[in-house]
């Protein structure tokens, strides 16, 4: 069976065989996948061909595990940002105190009502904790969402 036409697009025969679930050898399937990965025209022909067939149902739906993975990824991303921000603050404070020690012989007394660096860090920490718990609540809500009826094309 010819997989490709002379113009470089997939043959009707190859697309029909693929959509009908006929066995094609692995190299042919690799060549077809490579072509479908960039050719809009052949992808459209293939999905149109699939529209007229009975679609397969996976033994295990990916929905549950998908949301678990998305949630884990979001948490990891958030923690990475938190760690990066914390490292940046620590570095900035080190540099600030270091340079203050060199240029300022004597520290000026701070007024009582002026917020200190540690106050600001504490507030920043609290706001990050609130944001993190918001993210968790959000994903908890998603996990409890009732799946709609399966269908579609």
């Amino acid at each position: 069976m010819d997989i490709f036409q002379h113009d470089g697009h997939l043959t009707d025969e190859a697309l029909t065989a693929l959509a009908a679930g006929e066995s094609l050898d692995e190299t042919a399937r690799l060549e077809i996948a490579e072509h479908l990965a960039f050719c809009d025209l052949c992808l459209q022909r293939y999905t149109d061909a699939l529209a007229g067939t009975e679609l397969l149902t996976p033994e295990q739906s990916c929905r549950e595990s998908l949301w678990r993975r998305i949630r884990a990824r979001a948490a990891r991303l958030f923690l990475n940002r938190y760690a990066t921000a914390a490292a940046a603050v620590a570095l900035a404070l080190t540099m600030l105190w270091g340079s203050a020690g060199i240029t300022l012989p004597e520290r000026l007394p701070l007024p009582e009502d002026r917020p200190t660096v540690s106050d600001r860090l504490r507030k920043w920490n609290e706001s990050l904790d609130n944001a993190m718990s918001g993210v968790n609540d959000f994903f908890d809500g998603l996990g409890q969402r009732t799946p709609p009826v399966q269908g579609g094309n």
Binding site: D2, I3, F4, Q5, H6, G8, L18, A19, G21, S23, E26, T27, R29, L30, E31, I32, A33, E34, H35, L36, A37, F38, D40, L43, Q44, Y46, T47, L50, L55, L56, T57, P58, E59, Q60, S61, C62, R63, S65, L66, R69, I70, R73, F138, L142, R145, P147, P148, V149, Q150, G151, G152, N153
Partner: protein
């Protein structure tokens, strides 16, 4: 373009899960791998959900699924065909045996062997080996991604080597 909400994305998963699984299964012919690739497809879709073209979700997901299946088949093919020591060869370059056979063969023999190759290898090999175009130039001329040109060129060289070695043995090129 507004970003899809979580509920809208969940509906998308419900609506197209069977389509994506079918595409993955028909390409890889392995149920467990197809299930993994289906999940990978939706994970990628979620991470790039801001670029989902409204009204073309089916084609967009089909494209991602085909890409995932291609990567899966490609790595399986590489595992089977790449010999120990060849792993470090940059994409587009062939193992030394391929290069040696091509260097040894005359231009006419290579031209004849390329003429006998089928799509999608013939135009890639013609441009890169006979016309000495770079993979980037060939990609532009053929409307294919550069990465695809690299893999097709590597596979094309392998086919050429087989043909040229056969012609050395039998004294002529065979189809």
């Amino acid at each position: 373009m507004s970003v899809m909400t979580k509920d809208q994305f969940s509906d998308l998963v419900v609506r197209y899960e069977r389509l994506v699984y079918t595409i993955c299964f028909q390409l890889v012919r392995d149920a467990a791998a197809a299930e993994d690739l289906t999940q990978e497809t939706f994970l990628s879709a979620y991470l790039h959900r801001e670029s989902i073209p409204k009204g073309y979700e089916r084609q967009w997901l089909g494209r991602i699924a085909a890409n995932k299946a291609k990567d899966h088949l490609q790595s399986a093919w590489n595992r089977r065909t790449v010999l120990p020591g060849d792993e470090g060869i940059p994409p587009g370059l062939s193992p030394p045996t391929e290069e040696l056979v091509l260097e040894r063969a005359g231009t006419d023999a290579i031209r004849a062997a390329i003429g006998e190759l089928k799509e999608p290898y013939r135009p890639v090999c013609k441009l890169c080996l006979l016309e000495e175009k770079s993979p980037e130039e060939a990609a532009l001329a053929l409307g294919r991604p550069v990465k695809t040109i690299h893999t097709q060129l590597a596979r094309g060289k392998r086919l050429l080597r087989e043909r040229l070695e056969r012609s050395e043995t039998h004294g002529h090129l065979s189809t």
